[in-house]
């Protein structure tokens, strides 16, 4: 059986963390491909319902950054 890999949903603020994730690419940093990023206009937009929905949809972790 293949090793279990978590699926992580990331809510990233358009102005900081999303730009930082872009910069990680520009700098050719590497990280595991388990993250799916959802861009939000500000972490102020973050609602607990999104976290719950992500977990219900099978996410193993939710990362909010901003």
């Amino acid at each position: 059986m293949a090793q279990w890999e978590p699926k992580i949903v990331a809510f990233l603020c358009n102005w900081c963390s999303y730009a930082a994730a872009d910069l990680a690419g520009v700098s050719r940093m590497e990280y595991p491909p388990n993250v799916r990023v959802i861009r939000i206009p500000c972490t102020g937009r973050m609602s607990p319902k999104f976290v719950l929905a992500a977990l219900r949809e099978g996410a193993d972790g939710v990362w909010v950054s901003g």
Binding site: D22, L23, V26, S27, R39, P41, G44, R45, F50
Partner: protein
């Protein structure tokens, strides 16, 4: 600086937007510049060094068809020019390309360049020597039908018949000529033009152009008696016979006359044909011989005598055959026209030598039999062809010439260079283009290549057959480098040009962004018509290498603050990991040395303070502790701690609390501690104690200075500079230089930090705007708008465009499979992949596809929306779609680039992201951007210096401006000031400003007035101004807050108890009034920081140090005998104010430092005014008997609360207004349409207040200049039916966008509504709304949920 190695092709820095690459070129390397064929020498050497021999050879052959030939017989001017000469010895450049050619030849599949499209025009080349062959080679590549006519039965000209095969083996020549044959060039040997065919006949046969490269094959005569005897063989003929295989024996003793390569070839060939004692007769010294040094050396090795300073005067014969030669000794006289010393015969030194043969080899000339009557070409006085120097065109337009026939006997590589240039000319001639055109003729080499301290690397010698073995035969002497040697030799290259011009980037760039033309870019001179010029050339960090005592250049763990910034940066060389550069050890102790290259006249010429270093050192220390943990010991060695910026003192205090040590001492020496890399610091404490402390790392806080080239620029522009080389300006016109129309901002105006530079920049723009106001909008082009298609209620028809981004995405992600997968998703009507989706042609195609397929939603899976969303949205608009019907999917920055070792999972992730984007875009609705009119009127609150400066700028740009001033007079606090630091009375300039502002018809004054109410928002404010009992409502689009500040009324130092104790402003009043008592003062004491930098007021009032020193100097000017004391905590005369501090010390003002814990005590005893304190240097109490005490009182903000509430602005803990962004928005507020300037922002001197006033006006004009403002479409909207009126949104919004509807409204009274103009779309209210009444367009719940629900659909 140089923390990381980088290639010539590089990205400027990680955060650069656009993240485009740049190529660093220092210039043309001397080797390439000097080579007549301009071979990209550094390029082929770099490729050789990299082991890419084939590419290296291909590169060589772009410029030169004979790497093997020239690798043997070239006179290598490139090596003479090699920068390595300055270090040890030049690179063996020709040996390296010989290796490349030999490798290519041995491969069995020699490289043949690709031909361009075939052309029908025929070209005739006369002469198959190096010039003709080269011309044929390049014309064949261009696609022409080339025929070469050669008189001799063999090809190669002098290469074949002039150079002996022990130097240049025949198979080498043949192999390189074979390539030319393979290119389709036709050769006709044994054909003599002028005899067998004439040029006229060839013209009739359809030849469109001719190249004459017939060389100079006729030997020049010695011009002495007996030259026609048997046994005298002209050198070239002798070589030709031998090279054609005719063996000639000349006898044992052969005199070869001449010092060039032909003479050397003759003498060595004679040796090889059996002559026992061939020798050279040459009239100058060995040093003047034109032959290659190597060949002279090889002659000597072979035992050949060089009889120099000898000239033949007669050939003596016996029975018609040579018996002897009579010569005369020469000596070197004065230099001739060529600069060489002219040989002069020594009288009476004639002598005879017995010889069997004489070979004259003193030069050649051309046989011009080919020039028949139909040629209009002309010869010059030397018997060579007259041609245009650049184009090589002769007097007959279709005839071109080059090589020895034009230059007289010269080198192979010069002939090759000529053949190449002639080929360019012939191509242009046939195409009917201008011949000279933009041809590169300026090949100036780079000069500023650093060579100091480079390690010596010996040149690799050429392996050779021993003299004994080689003397007897014509086998090749030089054996060539092997691979290892060639690479090792290539490794010695100093890369003079930085970019080596290997052009591999041109091949690699799929987008065609880098081309050969890019590499050929030259500086251009443009002439621009402008109404104003703004100078923002910046500064350079001081280079501390010159300070031996800090050993910056020698000790790797001594770094500059700029390097420290990079080390602390996440995108820096260590990825933000704090380590020493020397050994990558994590430091435990770091010291900062302040004032390196600032406030220093002993070791450098920068006597000014650089203003920013104290603060950046504190910042670096705090960040270093954040990186490495609290245990990191940080010590800052300083003279005065100058944290005079807004909120800087607080930061300084916090750093002290966090354990950063501040040591008041200037360190003199750094010593290394053994081989540990640690650094010992010896310093003297303030009390005179000598201490030694060891640190792991030392950071030199280097100052700011104006680069030499900027000083040059200033000279060219004819603007005046200050003594510190900053642009000179005056306090009331701080961004104007001495030349009208030229403005300045940033560090060239004086050393300054980011906020001040940003303020400066806006102010300079305003100053330029004032004189350009009339031209506003005269050059504006408004793009045509495509009418929007209504897609409401349409079923989604989604187009997905997947980008390859060259290989950036497709190198990792399987783009075709993502595209095919996208096509299977619901509502997707069209899916395609593009090489570069952002390219203009793809954009045009995309717009067509949208229209053709009737798409109403678009997904682009490519890079990041941060940089490219706007571009694609424009394409949507061009296709008539609302730009919000779009979603970008980031499969490059957040996928292919970060998962390059995981292509399968990266592809899966790309599919997931595309699916999520498709799910979201289906729910996107067209959004409208609200437009509102801007009322083109400004309101300035406060009539002080800053407010008036703002009003003046707005008025000058034609905007109606209302100035509201609480007092009856304009001028604010400046009315109380005596003079500016440059010694001009403030009143004089202030009066001028007041009268200018009052006279401006655009400006309306509201004196004795206050603001009582504000309604509205950006573009449309309604403000109520109250003047006594009268109220007036002013409608305006923008507001500028310039409410200023006020002085503290001191409660300490016995203020108020004695008229001799005054505040700074009260002293100014005395100085203004020229109070005679000032002259009578025997002593005066200034006490600094009265109320500033105290626990209840933890900020520096910024202006008081300069102010007190200025007043102290004023007292000294009136009474030089007065004892003047300044009691201070830190003297903060930042920038060029430092000169005043220096002047005060020179004039005898005594500065005594005190600490917050031990403040001076003021006593009034028996009418005497006494100040007591402890001198920190002497450590003893001091009592000063004084006639005057001036208190440098703190600057306090006025009560700004009401105004803050009216305009919804915030105040900091000290009561000053909080700007939008401390660094980047120093004149803006978070609230749109309201701007900030002057002391309402923070205490500041007049020049800075004027600058910020102008800057705030400038920011305001960015709104006023528009007729309308468009808002964003992605804003929040309330569904009033669901609103429960809880008010959370109203209280939580940082932009004051939500409000309650009036209770009197007909619909939904009291419910919340959101002003789309103010909403920034952050979504805070949406997430906070308990009733779910608020929706955020573009990021609504259903859209985000759609993305979440799409997470798992595939797997």
């Amino acid at each position: 600086m140089g923390l990381v190695e980088r290639k010539a092709t590089h990205r400027r820095y990680a955060q650069a937007i656009p993240g485009a690459f740049a190529i660093t070129k220092r210039g043309t390397a001397p080797c390439r510049a000097t080579c007549p064929a301009h071979v990209s020498v550094q390029g082929f050497i770099a490729l050789t060094n990299d082991g890419r021999y084939r590419e290296a050879l291909e590169l060589f052959k772009q410029d030169h068809p004979f790497p093997g030939v020239c690798g043997r017989v070239c006179t290598h001017p490139c090596e003479s020019a090699c920068t390595r000469n300055a270090v040890d010895s030049p690179l063996g450049i020709m040996y390296i390309h010989r290796f490349l050619a030999d490798t290519d030849r041995a491969s069995g599949k020699p490289y043949v360049p690709a031909k361009k499209a075939q052309r029908q025009e025929k070209v005739a080349i006369v002469g198959a020597g190096p010039a003709g062959l080269t011309c044929a080679y390049f014309l064949a590549i261009e696609g022409y039908q080339v025929t070469v006519f050669e008189k001799l039965p063999v090809l190669g000209g002098m290469l074949t018949v002039g150079i002996p095969s022990y130097r240049l083996p025949r198979d080498v020549i043949e192999a390189e000529i074979q390539v030319i044959k393979d290119l389709g060039v036709e050769f006709k040997t044994g054909v003599e033009i002028g005899k067998d065919f004439t040029v006229g006949q060839l013209r009739e046969q359809g030849y469109k152009a001719f190249f004459i490269g017939i060389g100079a094959q006729e030997c020049k005569r010695l011009g002495i008696e007996g030259e026609d005897y048997k046994g005298v063989y002209p050198g070239v003929e002798f070589l030709r016979e031998i090279n054609l295989g005719n063996r000639i024996h000349l006898g044992d003793r052969v005199a070869v006359v001449g010092g060039g390569n032909v003479a050397m070839d003759c003498v060595r060939s004679a040796l090889r044909t059996g002559s026992k004692k061939p020798f050279i007769i040459y009239r100058r010294a060995v040093e003047q011989m034109p032959a290659n040094a190597e060949e002279i050396e090889e002659c000597r090795e072979e035992g050949i005598e060089l009889m120099t300073l000898t000239n033949p005067i007669r050939v003596i014969a016996e029975n018609g055959r040579v018996r002897a030669i009579e010569c005369i000794r020469m000596e070197l006289g004065p230099p001739d026209q060529s600069g060489r010393q002219r040989p002069v015969p020594i009288k009476g030194s004639e002598f005879q030598i017995e010889v069997d043969a004489v070979i004259p080899a003193i030069g050649q000339e051309t046989d011009w039999a080919c020039l028949t009557d139909e040629c209009a070409c002309t010869l010059n006085d030397w018997g060579t062809m007259r041609v245009d120097k650049v184009t090589l065109q002769t007097s007959d337009p279709d005839i071109f010439a080059g090589g020895d026939a034009v230059t007289g006997p010269a080198t192979v590589v010069e002939a090759i260079g000529a053949g190449k240039e002639a080929a360019v000319s012939i191509d242009r001639f046939i195409r009917g283009e201008e011949l000279a055109g933009d041809r590169k003729t300026d090949w100036r080499p780079v000069e500023d290549v650093p060579t100091e301290g480079l390690p010596h690397l010996a040149r690799h010698p050429m392996p050779m057959v021993s003299p004994e073995t080689r003397k007897a035969n014509f086998n090749e002497v030089q054996q060539g480098y092997d691979e290892e040697t060639a690479r090792a030799e290539a490794h010695r290259c100093l890369e003079c040009g930085v970019c080596c011009e290997c052009y591999q980037c041109v091949t690699a760039c799929k987008a065609g962004a880098v081309t050969l033309e890019t590499h050929g870019q030259k500086p251009e001179t443009l002439t621009l018509e402008t109404g104003a010029v703004i100078l923002a050339p910046g500064f350079e960090p001081f280079d501390p290498s010159k300070f031996d005592s800090y050993a910056y250049a020698k000790l790797p763990n001594v770094i500059t603050s700029m390097e420290m910034e990079r080390i602390l940066s996440a995108s820096g060389p260590t990825g933000g990991h704090l380590v020493r550069l020397g050994d990558h050890k994590e430091p435990k102790k770091i010291a900062w040395f302040q004032c390196v290259g600032s406030r220093d006249l002993n070791r450098c010429d920068n006597s000014f303070c650089s203003s920013v270093c104290c603060m950046y050192a504190v910042k670096e220390a705090v960040i270093a502790k954040e990186h490495a943990g609290d245990d990191l010991d940080c010590a800052i060695f300083f003279m005065d701690m100058r944290t005079h910026g807004k909120d800087f003192e607080r930061f300084y205090n916090k750093a002290k609390d966090q354990g950063v040590r501040f040591i008041r001492s200037r360190v003199h020496t750094i010593d290394k501690v053994g081989d540990t890399g640690d650094l010992a610091v010896r310093y003297v404490t303030e009390s005179g104690e000598l201490k030694t402390e060891t640190f792991d790392m030392i950071v030199l806080s280097v100052g700011l200075q104006t680069p030499a080239e900027t000083v040059e620029l200033a000279k060219r522009l004819d603007i005046q500079l200050t003594p510190g080389h900053f642009a000179k300006s005056t306090p009331f016109a701080p961004v104007a230089t001495s030349r009208p129309g030229i403005f300045v901002c940033g560090a060239f105006q004086g050393p300054r930090d980011i906020p001040q530079s940003v303020v400066d920049a806006s102010a300079a723009a305003a100053a330029a705007g004032e004189i350009l106001a009339e031209a506003r909008d005269t050059l504006t082009v408004i793009p045509e708008k495509v009418p929007e298609v209504n897609v409401l209620n349409e079923r989604p028809r989604i187009g997905v465009f997947v980008c390859n981004c060259g290989i950036n995405i497709s190198g990792t992600v399987d783009v075709p499979s993502v595209r095919d997968y996208a096509a299977t998703l619901p509502y997707v009507e069209y899916a395609a992949d593009n090489l570069y989706t952002c390219s203009q042609d793809t954009q045009d195609r995309m717009a067509e596809v949208i229209k053709e397929k009737g798409l109403n939603r678009v997904v682009v899976a490519a890079c990041t929306p941060k940089t490219h969303e706007a571009l694609f949205q424009e394409t949507l608009m061009a296709a008539g779609l609302n730009k919000y019907l779009f979603e970008m999917c980031n499969i490059r920055n957040q996928d292919s680039w970060v998962h390059k070792h995981n292509p399968d999972l990266a592809t899966e992730k790309a599919k997931d992201l595309v699916r999520m984007a498709v799910a979201k875009v289906g729910l996107m609705q067209p959004l409208q951007e609200a437009q509102l009119d801007v009322n083109q009127t400004a309101l300035v609150i406060g009539g002080g210096i800053a407010g008036m400066a703002a009003a003046q700028t707005l008025g000058a740009q034609g905007y109606t401006t209302h100035v509201v001033e609480r007092e009856a007079l304009l001028g604010g606090q400046a009315r109380h000031l005596f003079q500016t630091p440059d010694g001009v009375p403030v009143a004089q300039r202030l009066d001028q400003l007041v009268s200018d502002v009052s006279a401006d018809p655009h400006i309306q004054m509201h004196l004795n007035s206050e603001i009582t109410a504000v309604e509205g928002f950006v573009g449309n404010f309604k403000t109520t101004v109250k003047n006594g009992d009268q109220e007036q409502v002013i409608e305006h689009g923008v507001a500028i807050i310039a409410t200023g500040a006020k002085p503290l009324v001191p409660t300490e130092y016995s203020y108020g108890q004695d008229p001799r104790i005054v505040t700074s402003l009260e002293l100014d009043a005395k100085l203004k009034a020229d109070d005679p008592a000032i002259k009578e003062l025997e002593a005066a004491v200034f006490i600094q920081c009265v109320g500033s930098r105290e626990p209840e007021r933890p900020y520096c009032s910024r202006v008081c140090c300069t102010h007190s020193i200025d007043s102290a100097l004023a007292i000294k000017a009136r009474n030089p005998e007065a004892n003047v004391y300044i009691l201070y905590r830190d003297i903060r005369t930042y920038g060029e104010r430092e000169y005043l501090y220096k002047e005060a010390r020179e004039k005898g003002v005594i500065f005594i430092r005190y600490s917050l814990e031990a403040k001076p005590q003021v006593a009034i005893e028996n009418g005497r005014l006494l100040v007591r304190l402890t001198d920190p240097i002497l450590g003893r109490p001091v009592e000063i008997d004084t006639d005057l005490i001036s208190l440098a009182t703190a600057i306090l903000p006025p009560d700004n609360n009401v105004l803050a509430q009216l305009f919804k602005l915030s105040l900091n803990d000290d009561g000053f207004f909080v700007e939008k962004h401390a660094k980047l928005g120093p004149c803006d507020f978070a609230t749109d349409g309201v701007f900030l300037c002057g002391m309402a922002h923070y205490p500041k001197p007049i020049d800075e207040a004027v600058t910020q006033g102008k800057a705030a006006a400038s920011r305001a004009v960015t709104l006023l200049a528009r007729q309308h403002i468009s808002t964003i479409g992605q804003v929040a909207e309330v569904n009033p039916a669901l609103c429960s009126m809880c008010g959370v949104c109203v209280s939580i919004c940082p932009y004051s966008a939500p409000s309650f509807r009036a209770p009197t409204e007909r619909f939904w009274p009291g419910r919340a509504e959101i002003n789309p103009v103010l909403c920034k779309g952050c979504g805070l209210c949406v997430a906070s709304c308990r009733s779910g009444a608020i929706h955020l367009k573009g990021f609504d719940n259903d859209q985000i949920f759609a993305q979440l629900f799409a997470l798992n659909e595939a797997s």
